[in-house]
């Protein structure tokens, strides 16, 4: 009985084109069927569709598969993209780049370079070692966790492409500008001493990526899905369940006075201040945000909250403390928080 299973497992790498076409078709037909299936599901349950519970259930049954589908699709594509970009290659591209151009490149590469927050420090030093300027390195370090595929997939799924694009553009802007400011402040002497000694020391280049065929790239897309979706799905379901609860039970406009249009000026800084010590990934926070917005919170305040949760966190500061002296950490956190704050205000003013 094992033979067919193994064949099935090897199939994507043997016929990558056929696999991609077929999976894409299945994906789209599932996506099309979402609303009717979720309505049908709620209809079979003994609850009133118009009631609190009915509303909450429909939200849950519709959002969960929708978000998981979008996430799977985007994570797969990103997994394939990752096979073209390695941190080593990114570093080589950034070496010797000036402030400005370098920051823009670093922030953009931050989106597509495989990055795990636990690699932040080795990456940081690796960049400096190869002669990437400090400010440019920071642009990368800010953009990589904040503007990532999970955040974009979820925003797209819940708020549509406009909000996802705005988040992308603003996230990049914060990363670029914050990196340039840190670069201009010339804080190289606030790196820990052993890190300064390593700066520009011509890094050893570890095993370059071997060339891959499409079968291998598809395989790594699949394993990326297994790794990421396998890790975040409980957060998403918990987040959506919480969101569904808010959706069904918390009265309309409850949030309006605190996070809404006519909220006092301090609501944006307060959102950021609450967000910084919180540490969760995009997957856990976005469903809650959707529910908050449904209850009258405004987008700018909510996005500022989300960015501060994802981009600045206490555990990250503690890891960075190994390579940065306190003043540089404080500057980093301050500049990024300020950038997020501005994003929040601008959003609220424009929309």
């Amino acid at each position: 009985m094992q033979a067919p299973a193994i064949q099935l497992k090897r199939w994507p790498s043997q016929q990558p084109l056929l696999f991609v076409i077929l999976v894409t078709l299945i994906w789209f037909s599932l996506y099309q069927a979402l609303t009717s299936v979720s309505e049908a599901l709620v209809a079979t349950l003994p609850v009133a569709r118009e009631g609190h519970l009915g509303g909450a259930l429909q939200f849950f049954f519709y959002d969960t598969p929708k978000v998981l589908l979008l996430l799977t699709g985007i994570v797969f594509v990103v997994g394939v993209v990752h096979t073209f970009v390695s941190p080593e290659r990114t570093r080589a591209m950034l070496t010797g780049k000036r402030l400005g151009v370098g920051n823009v490149m670093a922030a953009s590469l931050g989106i597509v370079t495989p990055f795990c927050s636990c690699s932040a420090v080795p990456l940081f030093i690796g960049f400096l070692q190869a002669g990437v300027p400090l400010g440019v390195t920071f642009s990368f370090l800010i953009s990589a966790p904040m503007v990532n595929e999970v955040a974009l997939a979820l925003l797209f799924g819940m708020f549509g492409w406009k909000v996802a694009t705005l988040y992308l553009v603003l996230g990049l802007t914060v990363a670029i500008v914050a990196g340039m400011v840190i670069g201009k402040l010339d804080m190289g002497n606030h790196l820990e001493d052993w890190v300064r000694e390593m700066q520009n020391s011509q890094a050893v280049n570890a095993g370059e990526v071997t060339s891959m065929n499409w079968g291998k790239r598809i395989d790594s897309g699949i394993s990326h899905v297994r790794e990421i979706v396998g890790k975040v799905w409980p957060y998403i379901i918990a987040g959506i369940a919480l969101g569904a609860g808010i959706h069904g039970y918390v009265p309309e406009d409850f949030m309006a006075s605190v996070m809404g249009k006519d909220a006092p000026w301090w609501s944006v800084p307060a959102a950021v201040a609450i967000g910084v010590p919180m540490y969760t990934n995009a997957a856990g926070i976005i469903p809650i945000i959707e529910a908050l917005m449904g209850k009258g919170a405004v987008l700018g305040t909510v996005l500022a909250f989300m960015m501060s949760v994802i981009a600045l966190s206490a555990p990250e500061m503690i890891i960075l403390r190994k390579v940065l002296k306190p003043r540089l950490i404080a500057t980093f956190a301050g500049v990024v928080a300020l950038g997020i704050l501005l994003v929040g205000y601008v959003f609220n003013a424009v929309l």
Binding site: R91, C118, F127, W194, A203, A206, I319, K322
Partner: protein, 79 residues
């Protein structure tokens, strides 16, 4: 004897990698010397930027993410 070092600051992926190599070695009946390198300075001396990284007899053979089981078995086979 094979000497394998796993480079990583102690994140979940690094632990998974260590376990994966241990399991594969046990399954294949290969005795290996497995070290964990967790100090950032030491990790950097191998030139690895993305963890977990794997060093096989002093040579970096893998970086950035959990290696596939196939890859681990190739190392153990001494290829």
């Amino acid at each position: 004897m094979l000497n394998i070092k796993v480079l990583g600051t102690g994140c979940a992926n690094c632990k998974t990698t260590v376990k994966l190599i241990e399991d594969a070695a046990r399954a294949k009946g290969v005795t290996i010397e497995l070290d964990k390198v967790e100090e950032i300075k030491d990790i950097m001396s191998y030139g690895v930027m993305s963890t977990p990284g794997v060093v096989l007899n002093g040579k970096v053979v893998h970086a950035g993410g959990i290696p596939s089981r196939d890859k681990v078995e190739l190392w153990l086979a001494g290829v």
